[in-house]
């Protein structure tokens, strides 16, 4: 093993441990600054998770086995997604399946408690997933293939549009505006927050940690999708290392963009979501075909 490869592995391990702890904080910080506030510390998300994990969980008397095992399984699913993205120990094709596991954990946790908000959030989560999943699958298929975009203006435009729509699908998966708005704390408009409204202590800690890892995983995945399928980098070890090194700044850049996006956008009404996601699916299908043709 060469020194470069060794350094790359160390770099990847550092990203693997560190990035999920700061990305959520960066989003919050940028959002606050954009709105003219100072905002919390970048590591505030990490401090909150640490505080939650130290507390005993309390749950609804109606809950059972799913309330006990779902939070840790969702964390397991998020770690699997994150490790596949960073170390590529398995094909990207496995990502949608761990996303399915992650989603099922949240929805079953919410449903088992039998509260109105849990059910409401679960219903909306299923709606978002039904519409976002085909788009995400298509995105992952392109990521898994050996397609490489040439550097012509037309190819670049198609590639950028493809990434833009992929970003929209990721927003739906991450429960961000315009599909969900975690800031409102109005229960009737929430999706993700409504599902975990019953969570407390360690339960909340695991679920929150899983969310942060998933955020890091999907943003980094989008960066890898862009870097690995363009001919921007030369073939060989230098090109590979450059691509890997750019994952960190790329993910941080996307988190900053997400912060701006959250600050300046609002959640749209529900009847709009299926139409918009259907349109996204068709557009990404056409763009996927064009990516192949270009």
């Amino acid at each position: 093993m060469s020194v470069n490869s060794l350094l790359l592995i160390v770099y990847q391990i550092l990203i693997f441990i560190g990035l999920p702890l700061v990305l959520g904080g960066i989003v919050r910080k940028v959002r606050a600054r954009t709105q003219g506030r100072k905002g919390p510390k970048i590591l505030q998300v990490f401090y909150e998770i640490r505080k939650y994990l130290a507390k005993e969980p309390i749950d609804n008397p109606n809950s059972g086995i799913f309330a006990e095992i779902s939070p840790i399984i969702s964390l397991y699913a998020a770690i699997m997604i994150w490790s596949i993205v960073i170390f590529e120990w398995a094909p990207f094709i496995l990502i949608p399946f761990f996303l399915a596991l992650y989603r099922f954990c949240f929805v079953s946790f919410a449903m088992e408690s039998g509260t109105s908000f849990g059910g409401l959030g679960s219903g909306r989560e299923i709606l978002l997933s039904v519409m976002a999943e085909p788009t995400i699958i298509l995105m992952i298929l392109v990521a898994q293939s050996h397609i490489e975009l040439s550097l012509t203006p037309v190819s670049a435009l198609i590639g950028v549009l493809f990434l833009l729509l992929s970003f929209v699908a990721i927003l739906a998966e991450l429960a961000k505006p315009p599909f969900d708005d975690p800031r409102t704390h109005l229960e009737l408009t929430m999706v993700h927050e409504a599902m975990i409204l019953e969570a407390s202590g360690r339960t909340m800690g695991y679920l929150e940690l899983a969310s942060q890892i998933k955020l890091a995983g999907l943003l980094s995945f989008l960066i890898k999708l862009a870097l690995e399928h363009s001919k921007l980098f030369p073939l060989g070890e230098f090109g590979n290392i450059t691509r890997e090194l750019l994952v960190l700044p790329g993910a941080v850049g996307l988190a900053i963009l997400l912060g701006f996006w959250e600050a300046d956008s609002v959640r749209r009404k529900w009847s709009w979501v299926p139409e918009f996601m259907g349109l996204c699916f068709l557009a990404i299908l056409i763009l996927g075909t064009l990516v192949k043709l270009s």
């Binding site: 969980p57 109606n62 099922f104 109105s116 679960s122 259907g278």
Partner: protein
């Protein structure tokens, strides 16, 4: 009571023997079980396993007519076994008809109403039509291509292929769960295995497969969407079956389309879809039977055909929802289950299609992607049913007088036997694929892929089991109500299954289902047939001269008779 138990034991032996004997006969008959006859071997093994699970459910489901139902099953499994063994003999259509008619005995104990009669009628009609085409194959000479054509049509009808599927939801609507599970796990897959054994190796022309491919794709799309929006859980499962069965036909069509190709990529695709067919067949057989058993049980306990009236009933049966949800986990493609291996392999092959030369991938990929939409919605059908039936909070005043611990034990054995296969087969697949009849189709990349899926499945299942048994650091010791819920304690707020599907109704559902929840396409086809069959009535109504009725009928009959004779005579002239 003791006498009843003895007789039940005899019944078990009778049913077990009827399912087993065809398999033993097959193994001793000099067939080639690990070669060309592998599909037959698989079908016979599956019928033994599904037969066991179904009979365990009968013990819970049917207390008064257990012996009669057992007798029905003995005839059913023997006849279905003969269907596999008969080959190109007259025994095939005859035993298929006997298997179908035996369901009348299997339905014993079910209160016969309109739905039950329609269920039996639809099953017998589909079998009858199928048997006619199978007879045509049997009586035509060995090398006559029309024989294979008739065989294909007969098998398409019997499996519920797109366009021939209308009987399947009707059957599911009124049948008992144990019978419907047996149909899903054994009867519906029998035509596919027969096609794999007799048509696929002998019909090399891609033309047939290029017709089957788009129709199967439409079936997946239509089945998935219709099942997601259907309010009757048994019919929703039937449409989900249509989606799965058409996906299996799609695999066979892709296999057949490229089986003679000399290009390595297309040959790889053909071989890999052949393997995917077997994986998905196992998934359908075990997971769908599991779902029909578990969801059918809830429907029976509630005695309702509306999902919204069944919310939370699964909590009353005293079996962990984690155990009752294994079929759902498989359809939700959660790692560690058979469904995961099937769908992940399908994605893997799609990624390979994307890497293929330009023309072919541009043609195949959009079709494959739209199929995803059907598969995704089909998967969410099971999720929404499970969430509502097993996790929602039930009305505390609901009483289930029929339910008791003995019945619970039988259900646990029945669904448990299926759950074991759903979780175990992903780990065993790398070894199963070493069987000579399969190994020759397994490319090195596919072998490595299945191996990695087995490893991922093993890790996930072990992790979840360790968590279930030890809870690690997440044992909840303190429980109390929060204030979020405004003082309501559960049943008033629990979520019915339509909550998940109704928001999408305006966007997608309204194009496929009526407001009453009926499939628009199926209703249109049924209405067409109804009008067609009413033509005679229309002619009679328009007839004004009542006195001449007899002579008119005689004249019409004579014309038909002369026409048939003329066709026969002309046919004979053709031979001369």
């Amino acid at each position: 009571m003791e006498e009843g138990r003895k007789f039940s034991f005899v019944s078990s032996i009778l049913v077990g023997a009827s399912a087993f004997v065809p398999l033993i006969y097959f193994l001793w008959s000099g067939a080639d079980p690990l070669g060309s006859d592998f599909p037959i071997l698989l079908g016979l093994i599956l019928q033994v396993y599904i037969g066991f699970s179904a009979f365990m459910l009968v013990q819970s489901y049917e207390t008064i007519y257990t012996e009669r139902v057992a007798f029905g099953y003995a005839i059913f499994w023997t006849s279905l076994g003969i269907c596999y063994l008969a080959g190109k003999t007259v025994l095939l259509p005859v035993s298929l008809e006997i298997a179908s008619f035996s369901t009348i005995i299997i339905y014993s104990g079910t209160e016969f109403g309109r739905k039950q009669i329609e269920s039996l009628g639809s099953l017998l009609l589909a079998s009858g039509i199928s048997a006619l085409f199978l007879s045509a194959w049997v009586f035509l000479p060995e090398n006559d291509p029309r024989g294979l054509f008739f065989l294909t049509i007969g098998l398409l009808v019997k499996s519920g292929f797109s366009g021939f599927h209308i009987w399947l939801p009707k059957v599911n609507e009124g049948g008992p769960s144990h019978a419907l599970g047996s149909f899903a796990g054994a009867l519906e897959i029998f035509p596919l295995l027969l096609f794999t054994r007799y048509v696929l190796p002998n019909w090399q022309d891609p033309f047939l497969y290029s017709i089957l491919f788009p129709l199967a794709a439409l079936g997946v799309f239509f089945g998935g969407i219709t099942s997601f929006f259907h309010k009757d859980p048994k019919k929703a499962l039937a449409y989900s079956s249509i989606e799965s069965i058409n996906f299996l036909w799609l695999c066979l069509a892709t296999t057949g389309m490229f089986q003679t190709s000399t290009e390595p990529e297309l040959k790889f695709l053909s071989n890999s879809f052949y393997i995917l067919f077997f994986i998905s067949l196992l998934h359908h057989s075990f997971s769908k039977t599991f779902q029909v058993f578990s969801i059918g049980l809830v429907a029976r306990l509630r005695n309702s055909s509306s999902t919204d009236e069944m919310k939370g009933i699964g909590r009353y049966i005293g079996i962990s929802p984690l155990w009752m949800g294994i079929g759902t986990f498989s359809y939700a493609v959660i790692p560690g289950t058979l469904g995961f291996v099937s769908e992940a392999t399908y994605l893997f092959l799609n990624a390979r299609i994307l890497d293929m030369p330009l023309g072919r991938s541009v043609f195949l990929l959009p079709a494959m992607i739209f199929i995803f939409f059907g598969i995704v919605l089909g998967g969410f059908t099971h999720i929404r049913l499970f969430l509502s039936l097993f996790l929602s909070f039930p009305n505390p005043n609901t009483a289930l007088p029929e339910w008791n611990p003995v019945k619970r034990r039988w259900v646990l054995i029945s669904v448990g036997s299926l759950a074991v296969m759903i979780l175990l087969l992903p780990l065993l697949l790398p070894f199963i694929l070493q069987i000579p009849s399969l190994a020759k189709y397994v490319d090195e990349s596919l072998r490595l892929w299945i191996q990695s899926l087995a490893i991922v499945s093993g890790i996930t299942v072990m992790f979840v089991f360790s968590l279930v048994f030890f809870r690690w650091s997440h044992k909840i010791r303190k429980r109390k109500y929060w204030d979020c819920g405004n003082g309501y304690l559960g049943p008033e707020l629990s979520i019915p299954a339509t909550v998940f599907s109704e928001p999408l109704r305006n966007s997608i559902g309204r194009y496929f289902l009526t407001k009453e929840g009926l499939s628009i396409i199926d209703q249109s086809v049924l209405n067409f047939f109804k009008r067609f069959l009413n033509v005679g009535e229309y002619i009679l109504k328009s007839e004004e001269h009542q006195d001449e009725e007899v002579s008119h009928y005689l004249a019409i009959s004579s014309v038909f008779l002369i026409t048939i004779l003329a066709v026969l005579v002309i046919g004979d002239w053709g031979k001369i």
